[in-house]
C-alpha cells in the first residue's frame, strides 16, 4: 500500500508564517491586495469595493475555510447542533421547542445587532441567545466566550451563510450607530491610535509582517483564528485590537463594543456571512 502524509499542524502554521514573511519582504509599502486570492472567488468576497478579511488571508488560510471538512470551526457548528435540542432550565424547553430546526433562523444573523425596545439599547446575537435562555427557557445565561455560547452563535451564523450582511442604522438605532462610529475614529491607548488608523487609512498595507485588513469582519465572526486555536467572538477580537494599541479593553458584551459591532457590521454591509470563517 502506498502512503503519503500531509499534516496540518505546526507545518501549516510555519508555512503560513513563511508565506506572509515572503510577501512582506516583497510588497511592504505597496498596496498588496492584488496579490491575494484567486479572481473567481474574489467576486463573492468583494462588494462595491468593500473587501472581506478573506481576501487579506493567505491562500493556505483560505483553503482551510473553503473546505468544510478541514475547517475546524465546523466542530463548533456541530456542538451547537447538539445544544440546540438539549432541554435546560425550569421551563423544560430547548431551542428546538420554539424554533424547530436551526435552519428556521436563516436570515437572523445578518440583521443583528439591532435596537431592542425593552432595554432601549442595542442587542446582539449573543445577548439575544441569552435572553431566550433566561426568559423562555428559564435557564442560566451562558457566560461570554464560553464554549456553549460560542457554539450556539456559530451555529446561528452558519445557517445564514452566504446571505449579505444587512444591519439597520436608521430610526432608533441611529444614536448607537453614531456612538460606534465615534469609537472607531477616536484615538485611544498609549499608542494613541484609533481603529481607523489601521483599518481605514492603511488597509492593504503591512504592519510588520501582518497584512492589515479593511476591518470588515462583520460577517466572519465567530471565526476560527489560528492564533487562538479555537473559535472566538468579534468582541474578543476587539479586545485584542485594543490591547495591541495598549488601551484598556472594554468588557465583551459591553455597550461600547455592541455599538462598535453595529458600526463594523454596517461597514461589512453586502458582504456574505462566512461563519465559521478562518483567519490567521
Amino acid at each position: 500500500m502506498s502512503r503519503k502524509v500531509s499534516m496540518n499542524g505546526r507545518g501549516r502554521k510555519r508555512a503560513a508564517v513563511v508565506a506572509s514573511l515572503l510577501l512582506a519582504a516583497g510588497l511592504a509599502g505597496y498596496g498588496a491586495s492584488s496579490a491575494m486570492a484567486c479572481d473567481a472567488c474574489k467576486g463573492k468576497y468583494e462588494v462595491d469595493g468593500r473587501k472581506s478579511g478573506y481576501l487579506f488571508a493567505t491562500k493556505e488560510t483560505q483553503s482551510i475555510q473553503d473546505d468544510d471538512f478541514i475547517n475546524p470551526g465546523m466542530l463548533w457548528v456541530e456542538k451547537g447542533r447538539e445544544l440546540w435540542t438539549k432541554v435546560e432550565g425550569e421551563a423544560g424547553k430547548s431551542c428546538a421547542s420554539c424554533h424547530g430546526e436551526p435552519e428556521s433562523l436563516r436570515g437572523v444573523y445578518p440583521v443583528y445587532p439591532k435596537y431592542d425596545p425593552k432595554t432601549e439599547k442595542l442587542i446582539n446575537i449573543e445577548q439575544r441567545i441569552n435572553r431566550c435562555r433566561t426568559e423562555q427557557m428559564k435557564a442560566k445565561p451562558w457566560k461570554w466566550e464560553s464554549e456553549p455560547l460560542l457554539a450556539m452563535t456559530t451555529l446561528i451564523g452558519y445557517v445564514s451563510r452566504g446571505l449579505p450582511m444587512n444591519v439597520k442604522i436608521d430610526g432608533p438605532a441611529k444614536p448607537f450607530f453614531e456612538k460606534g462610529k465615534e469609537f472607531y475614529f477616536k484615538r485611544r491607548g498609549q499608542l494613541d491610535m484609533a481603529c481607523k488608523h489601521c483599518h481605514y487609512d492603511f488597509a492593504g498595507r503591512y504592519i510588520r509582517a501582518d497584512l492589515l485588513s479593511e476591518g470588515r469582519g462583520g460577517g466572519a465572526f465567530p471565526a476560527y483564528r489560528l492564533k487562538w486555536q479555537k473559535i472566538g467572538s468579534l468582541h474578543r477580537r476587539f479586545k485584542g485590537c485594543n490591547k495591541q494599541i495598549r488601551a484598556e479593553p472594554y468588557k465583551p458584551g459591553s455597550d461600547e463594543y455592541v455599538n462598535l459591532e453595529l458600526f463594523v457590521k454596517w461597514r461589512s454591509r453586502g458582504l456574505p456571512v462566512e461563519v465559521p470563517a478562518v483567519r490567521r
Partner: protein, 107 residues
C-alpha cells in the same frame, strides 16, 4: 471531549488510490503555556499516537509531538484492493482512546 471526523470515499475501484481526511477536536495542550492567573505551567496533554487500520491491519501511523496544533487535521492516501472497514485510533497521553470507523465498497 474529543470528537473525531473522518472522510473516506464510499466507493472505489480496485487498486484505486484514495485520499482519507481526518480531523479530531482536541486542545493539544503543548505543556509550554502558562496559566495567566497562577503563573504555573499547564501540564502537557496531547494526542501522541495516531493509527489507521484497514480490516484490522495497521497500515498508517504517526507519532505526534507537542508542536502539533489544536484540533489536528491529518490526511493521507492509500491504495484499496477489497471492500472493508477503516478504523482510526487517536491515542491520548492520558491513556484515552478515541476511535472512528468508515466503510468502503470496492467494485
Amino acid at each position: 471531549m474529543a470528537k473525531a471526523r473522518v472522510k473516506v470515499p464510499k466507493t472505489a475501484k480496485a487498486g484505486e488510490i484514495i485520499t482519507i481526511k481526518t480531523l479530531i477536536r482536541h486542545k493539544m495542550e503543548s505543556g509550554n503555556r502558562k496559566d495567566k492567573k497562577t503563573g504555573k505551567l499547564i501540564p502537557r496533554h496531547i494526542i501522541d499516537k495516531f493509527t489507521a487500520k484497514y480490516n484490522g491491519e495497521k497500515f498508517f501511523w504517526a507519532d505526534w509531538e507537542g508542536g502539533v496544533s489544536a484540533n489536528p487535521y491529518c490526511s493521507f492516501t492509500c491504495k484499496v484492493d477489497k471492500s472493508g472497514e477503516f478504523e482510526f485510533i487517536w491515542h491520548d497521553e492520558k491513556g484515552e482512546e478515541y476511535t472512528a470507523k468508515a466503510k468502503i465498497t470496492v467494485a
